[in-house]
């Protein structure tokens, strides 16, 4: 079972967990990404490519379910304006055993960062700046290449 949500509403982690904790899995792994206050960041605004974003997340979830034989995968990504401490993204995977759930969860967040069309803009001290991609994100995504 795959569920993908892209929404400006705050992410309800309790509800997200409850939704994946059904169906008889032996292990559930979750990852929550939060807005950091680095350099005095006061707000983060997430822009995305409607339609293409959801399709990219579904494709990632389908790849994870097939590769790790997951019972379920959920990806919930917030868009719009957030403040430090807010949850930007929540990923959950359910499998028979822990290794599959943990690896699939890491795969999903690593690949989401380089393959899903989201863009972050930081607001700080009255100014705004677009976040630049990091080489370490590309390296984290590449470690899941099956031929690596």
């Amino acid at each position: 079972m795959i569920a993908v949500t892209v929404d400006p509403a705050p992410i309800d982690i309790g509800a997200e967990y409850a939704a994946i904790a059904v169906g008889g899995a032996g292990g559930i792994a979750t990852f929550a990404g939060l807005v950091r206050a680095d350099d005095g960041v006061e707000a983060l605004t997430l822009e995305h490519y409607p339609g293409a974003t959801e399709a990219a997340l579904v494709a990632l979830a389908e790849a994870a379910v097939a590769r790790w034989e997951l019972n379920a995968a959920r990806i919930t990504h917030r868009v719009g304006r957030m403040v430090p401490g807010d949850t930007v993204v929540f990923v959950a995977t359910a499998a028979r055993h822990r290794a599959a759930a943990l690896e699939a969860c890491a795969f999903l967040i690593d690949r989401l960062k380089t393959e899903a069309p989201f863009w972050k803009k930081e607001s700080l001290a009255g100014a705004e700046r677009w976040v630049e991609p990091r080489c370490s994100d590309d390296a984290a995504a590449a470690r899941w290449n099956e031929n690596a």
């Binding site: 490519y49 990504h77 967040i109 989401l112 393959e115 899903a116 989201f118 863009w119 991609p133």
Partner: protein, 85 residues
Amino acid sequence: MATEILYFAWVREKIGTGAETLDLPAGLVSVADLVAWLAERSPGHAEAFADPARLRAAVDQTFVALDAPLGRPREVAIFPPVTGG
């Protein structure tokens, strides 16, 4: 056939709009050809597209390299490298 051109993030801001519907001329072979043609539309377009190495693209919502064939798309999106998660 008109093509919907979409812009995101700082590409959108420099151009001043998130979408424009255009009749593309014959002879645009690759996505890079389209970007070069769009760059002549205004100073904002020229600034947004000044460094193609900083651009990514999707043709009919499929992510492609700038040297990919353009074909006859319904929708092309041009944007910076993604930074979600």
